[in-house]
């Protein structure tokens, strides 16, 4: 059985330069056999949505440590929906207060990974999430 590799965009929206987490995740997903496209830093929501569509990604991981998640995540989710990419699994990682997680999920975020989340959990989540959506 030749399965298509899971394609994941790891994205850094906003202006913060804290990319330790994003790079660790990108590498862990790559080591787990996924196709990883890391956008680099300081991406606008428009740039991220365009990358997801252009790369025909199955999932996008948004890494945010600037506190701007409640502004940036809804914009990205909306743009993906408007451009017909609502089936792309959206996950968020970073310093996200627990109180914000229900609202992010209501907006369409599949899962939020906060500091200390093992990379294996993220790999597993993407495997089962992308599998379920396909």
């Amino acid at each position: 059985m030749s399965e298509r590799k899971i394609r994941v965009v790891v994205a850094k929206p906003g202006l913060d330069g804290h990319d330790r987490g994003a790079k660790i995740i990108a590498r862990a997903l790559r080591d787990a056999g996924m196709e990883v496209i890391y956008t680099g830093l300081h991406q606008t929501p428009e740039q991220i949505a365009a990358t997801v569509i252009q790369e025909d990604a199955d999932a996008v991981g948004l890494s945010i440590l600037s506190g701007a998640h409640m502004t940036l995540v809804p914009k990205i989710v909306d743009m993906l929906r408007e451009q017909g990419a609502e089936d792309v699994l959206v996950t968020v990682g970073g310093t996200i207060p627990a109180d914000d997680i229900p609202e992010l999920k209501r907006l369409g975020v599949a899962e939020v990974f906060t500091p200390g989340a093992p990379t294996d959990d993220i790999v597993e989540f993407l495997r089962s999430g992308v599998g379920a959506a396909a």
Binding site: L15, R20, R27, G67, M70, T71, G116
Partner: protein
């Protein structure tokens, strides 16, 4: 057990006959950075070490034991908590609160748009204005930020890099309008652009024009601001990005030596500016490794400044440092435990001989700190200073076999990295070839892997977990700060003389294309109420922008 030091045979015998009969726990005995640690250190470990040459005395070359003879017996370190959020009015209030509670210096955190050189009304600033730090756009904001605070009495530190020259111009003009001349101003501005490309990743321009701006500041400050530190050469962010202690030490010092090189190439005498260079290191959780790092840093800096750059003034050789406990060591899980981590780290900073210290608050893995959390962080320093007794003698760990050995090894590791960087053509070329970035990414990944394999324990994260350990009360950014800041900016724009602002801006753009020091032109722009974003955009028209090729 009486084993005489100085006898290699006895130490060997002890190892064979006593120690090796014991059982060791099944854990790697190595520092946080993966450096091996022996069961015991004796005088034999210091066979190549010369106490007179390598340690000397506090206040004497090479300053391993501290930069001043009396250290904390003469004067405690400056307790300097980094603060900034919302608008300048709110941060001004927090500054006054900290000064009222016994803080002795100020340190300003700016928001992401300010760090990136964007005004608060820029489309890309949306959602980030006043969130991670204080929002600041014009000299009017700078005036309000320090309203009611005596700028000629309190020393101020500003964490800003790519647009540092602009913020310095704002500060100078804000003081000037209060009747305080630049030569009276004491403080520090970070300005360390090389570590931005390496680790912190907040930039405005390509590396070479950014280095020109740094050198412009060094030159201008040498002439105009004798009490000001124009660069705080920073390892903090390199470490936070996941580096080892050895990488933090090596990359930071190499950055520092690169700034010195550039200023000397500009024609400055090393002794005219080097006494005003200062450093900023991380205090991570591996106690002895951190102490060894500070001691090695001072020794390397002193030797390089004297021997490579021919400094004559001892003040050029002595490395003054600010230290901050490691944000990256804090956990979102069981956050009160972070108070303990911070205490250990702060103690390492103090026993390592720091001149000023920021202690992180226990809630900082989750958000900016609450007022209560900041107070406990400050109290941590006060307990170390006034209760623990560690300030009674200078460099109490000097002469410890382990500490001296680790210091020597730390120094050797730094020189290994220097050689690799020199092979690549120096620090700027090394950054362009992604060398430090890749080293750091590898170290960060290896650390994470060790945590996941449980080779390393992080209390509350991969061991000793509890359910329901979230903090209920955290600082929430004020969603109205953005609109208030945009109004402040609009008011300044409406009040200013547009023709004067445009003339100042045009002069800046012309000068950027010429071989001239840009500081006086930035000061003129600040006086004319040109905003930060306008100045950055004008310089970008000449210099261009920067995009990195990420490695992971």
């Amino acid at each position: 057990m009486a084993i005489e030091p100085g006898s290699e045979r006895r130490a060997h015998q002890w190892m064979e006959e006593e120690y090796s009969r014991e059982r060791e726990r099944d854990v790697p005995f190595e520092t946080l950075s993966g450096h091996p640690v022996a069961p015991l250190y004796t005088a034999d470990d210091l066979s190549g070490h010369d106490a007179e040459r390598d340690e000397s005395f506090p206040g004497s070359f090479p300053y391993t034991r501290g930069v001043y003879p009396s250290m904390y017996r003469g004067r405690l370190w400056t307790m300097r908590q980094f603060a900034g959020f919302g608008t300048v009015e709110e941060t001004n209030e927090r500054f006054r609160y900290l000064l009222d509670h016994g803080q002795t210096g100020l340190s300003t955190a700016f928001d992401m748009p300010t760090l990136m050189g964007l005004d608060s009304d820029h489309a890309r600033s949306l959602g980030e204005v006043g969130v991670e730090g204080v929002a600041l756009d014009t000299v009017d904001d700078m005036e309000t930020l320090f309203d009611g605070i005596s700028l000629d009495e309190v020393t101020v530190s500003m964490t800003i890099n790519a647009p540092a020259a602009i913020l310095l111009a704002f500060y100078v003009v804000a003081a000037e309008e209060k009747g305080i001349a630049p030569e009276k101003l004491g403080g520090t501005i970070q300005t360390d652009i090389l570590k931005e490309y390496i680790a912190q990743k907040e930039w405005c321009f390509p590396i070479e024009p950014a280095m020109r701006l740094v050198t412009d500041m060094v030159e201008w400050c040498a002439q105009e601001m004798p009490r000001w530190h124009p660069i705080s050469i920073s390892g903090y962010h390199i470490r936070e990005a996941g580096s080892t202690a050895q990488q933090e030490l090596a990359f930071t010092l190499k950055d520092g030596l690169t700034y010195v090189e550039r200023a000397v190439e500009r024609g400055l005498d090393v002794d005219d500016f080097a006494p005003r260079l200062s450093f900023f290191f991380n205090a991570h959780i591996d106690f002895f490794e951190e102490i060894a790092k500070y001691r090695a840093a001072r020794r390397i800096w002193a030797r390089e400044l004297r021997d490579t750059f021919g400094a004559k003034n001892p003040k050029s050789m002595l490395m003054r440092t600010h230290t901050q406990t490691a944000g990256v060591s804090l956990t979102a899980q069981q956050p009160l435990v972070n108070i303990v981590r911070t205490t250990i780290e702060a103690l390492a900073g103090v026993l390592g001989g720091t001149q000023s210290l920021h202690t992180n608050s226990f809630d900082e893995a989750l958000a900016l700190p609450t007022e209560e959390a900041v107070r406990i962080a400050l109290r941590t320093q006060q307990v170390i200073a006034h209760e623990s007794g560690v300030t009674n003698t200078v460099d109490p760990l000097g002469g410890s076999y382990f500490v001296e050995k680790l210091t020597d090894e730390m120094e050797a590791a730094a020189y290994d990295y220097f050689a690799r960087i020199d092979e690549l053509g120096g620090m700027v070329a090394a950054i362009e070839s992604n060398f430090p970035q890749r080293e750091i990414a590898d170290a960060a990944f290896e650390h994470q892997a060790a945590l996941e394999k449980e080779e390393r324990i992080m209390v509350g994260v991969n061991a000793f977990r509890v359910d329901d350990d979230e903090l209920t009360e955290i600082h929430r950014p004020d969603p109205a700060a953005e609109s208030r800041q945009k109004e402040r900016l609009a008011e300044t724009m409406a009040r200013r003389d547009d023709a004067a602002a445009e003339a100042a801006l045009a002069a800046l753009e012309r000068a950027a294309a010429e071989d001239r020091n840009l500081m006086p032109l930035l000061v003129d722009c600040a006086r004319a109420r040109v905003s930060e974003g306008e100045m950055v955009a004008a310089m970008q028209r000449v210099f261009g922008t920067y995009t990195e090729t990420p490695v992971y």
